[in-house]
Amino acid sequence: MTAESTPALVQSADTDGGPAQPGPPAARGPRARNTRAYLRYTAGKIAGAVVSLFAVLVTSFFLFRLIPSDPVKQMTGGRPVSAEQLESLRRQFGLDLPLWQQFTDYVGDALTGDFGMSYQFHSPVIGKIAEAVPATLLLTGTAYALYTALGIWLGTRTAWRNGSRSDRFHTAFALTLYSVPSFWLGLLLIIVFSVGLGPIPGLFPTGGLESGGETGFAYVIDVAHHLVLPVITLVAVGYAQTLLVMRSSLLDEMGSDYLTTARAKGLRDDLVRRRHAVPNAMLPTFTLMFVNLGHVVAGQILVETVFSWPGLGGLFYQALSVPDLPLVQGLFFVFATAVILANTLADLLYPLLDPRVGR
């Protein structure tokens, strides 16, 4: 299904916002015109991103006001509290103000990076988020690098040997893993490799980032040891998407005349593939890579929860179970912002890779 979303995204890159009509003829020749067209394209994309960011801010505010229950009651956890105490709590979190004033305060604060105090931890939301970022980047960043590389490599191989036994095997295997719920695969890996099943001893820790008490090189080894299972889970579930997109875009290029020309020049088969076919087929994969890059920050809520990873996804799950309104809001904003920034970055780089875009 994601293989389908990518062409749509590619299309969004070349139809929307970009100046379809050529600019007024410039006196300094085509180069200056191209530069100007690119600048105009860039400005349009950045303006679009700013509008999207504002829309996210508005949504994150109003969506969580829909929660029917009183956040103050949630905070006190059903303990007997006097009406005055409730009132002072409301005042402390600014919940007694009219809605529009709460909104303007929220937007103003959000622009300075202030998302309020967490109900649950009684500390600033932005601090909790900043604490969790490195762990998420370490886990999902490692997994991202691995599954992108694996997907591109296998996608190229399967498309180049289209219809062969290894093509069929790899495609079927990837599709199967793609259909597996990531959290279930994580639980299963924990059972088999952490708890130990039958003859298999517990090889890896069941969760967390570190065992504690280690320093220096031993600490690095310890963290790496904790990384193994969550990374395997993420790679297994994630690489199919890249594989399928890479495979289908390379298959599209397979019959092209320029490949025949390259072969006629006497190039070896793998040189035809590496220098001619793959660079052209990379464009849709490139879009997918940036879409996924945005989700690196959004983290993997499920996998982080299952492996008790102290990252953003795990924090989101904790915030939801209370529900800790400011923390959920802040995380929602951070997740959406990451995706918007990654997409905008892709839009800006795209014309440099494919000269047909943004002219």
């Binding site: 749509a8 969004s12 679009g48 259909s179 809520i301």
Partner: protein, 329 residues
């Protein structure tokens, strides 16, 4: 006039050779003139038969279809296969967390219920939520896509901006947020999935609408006085339908995965047995640290099998409709 063109177009859009068969049929029917309606029906049947012939050559698509039929039958026959009281936590047939045995082929859960029976009942929820959420998603996507593709000007731009904006939102995060703020029920889950996944379909349908609208017969229809509604419903929609069908099948499999995820996070309806809910129960009962694989493995495998079956069918349909995709057989 219009019934004829609507029936012939989907076939014409997918296979150019259609003209021959239509011509042959017309010459055959010159002896006894048929009503336009009968002709349209005959053409519809023909194009269905042609579709099935092409579909049949995709082996993985056939496997997917067979698996789906089997699972749908199991889900329908759940009360007969598993017993109507299989979900009750009182008067359970077995002891807590028994290993698989002759009586309980997949063991029992912490209340002593048969895991196999729960699995059979869970199929109903998975399929219902998957189908309904996909229908909702595709319905919104199709309407937005056709409208945005048909009309020019500012509201097309606004619609596509909204679509783009939904497209960049992290789907799962938005679905979780929606499911959190609403009541715990199966309808909440369906709504949360449907409302967050439609933009891809909308983009796809819009692109197809633009392609269809550039054809000469749309201009002809407009010249004959066809209004916006007529063109969108009679000409564009039938041509977009095959694509929408393939998209629906693919959306179902992701909807089923999302349903399992939401249920696992405790956002599903706690009174209904679903596969994701079973996994949550298992985790809460400590099945992970105790190594109770028979309780954890089956629901996940079931989700994967259903999701995979829908994906295989969707890919097969897609490659029948668009042979250039080069999906392996």
């Amino acid at each position: 006039m219009t019934t004829e063109s609507t029936a012939a177009e989907p076939a014409a859009s997918s296979e150019p050779t259609d003209v021959d068969s239509t011509a042959a049929e017309n010459s055959a029917s010159t002896g006894t003139p048929k009503s336009p309606r009968a002709l349209a029906r005959a053409r519809k049947r023909q194009s269905l038969a042609r579709f099935w012939r092409a579909y049949r050559s995709h082996r993985s698509g056939l496997w997917g279809l067979a698996a789906l039929v089997l699972i749908a039958l199991i889900a329908l026959a759940a009360p007969l296969l598993a017993g109507a009281d299989a979900q009750s936590v009182t008067d359970t047939p077995g002891g807590p967390l028994e290993l698989p045995s002759g009586e309980f082929p997949l063991g029992t859960d912490q209340f002593g219920r048969s895991v196999l029976a729960l699995l059979v009942w869970g199929a109903r929820v998975s399929l219902t939520v998957g189908l309904l959420a996909a229908v909702l998603c595709v319905a919104i996507g199709t309407v937005v896509g056709i409208v945005a593709g048909h009309f020019r000007g500012w509201y097309s731009t606004v619609l596509m901006r909204v679509t783009d904006w939904f497209l960049v939102m992290p789907t799962l995060v938005l679905a979780i947020a929606l499911a959190t703020v609403m009541d715990r029920s199966i309808w909440t889950v369906i709504l949360a999935i449907g409302v967050t996944t439609w933009p891809t379909t909308a983009r796809l349908v819009r692109a197809q609408t633009l392609a269809v609208e550039s054809r000469p017969y749309i201009e002809r229809s407009r010249a004959l006085g066809g209004g916006h509604g007529h063109i969108m419903l009679r000409h564009v929609l039938p041509n977009v339908m095959p694509l929408v069908l393939a998209q629906t099948t693919l959306v179902i499999s992701s909807a089923i995965l999302t349903e399992a995820t939401l249920a696992f996070l405790g956002l599903g309806d706690p009174t209904i047995t679903s596969w994701g809910g079973m996994l949550q129960d298992a985790r809460e009962a400590g099945a992970v640290s105790a190594g109770d694989w028979w309780y954890l493995a089956p629901p996940g495998i079931a989700v994967a099998v259903v999701a995979l079956a829908f994906t295989l069918c969707g890919r097969a349909i897609e490659s029948v409709l668009n042979p250039r995709l080069g999906v392996s057989r």
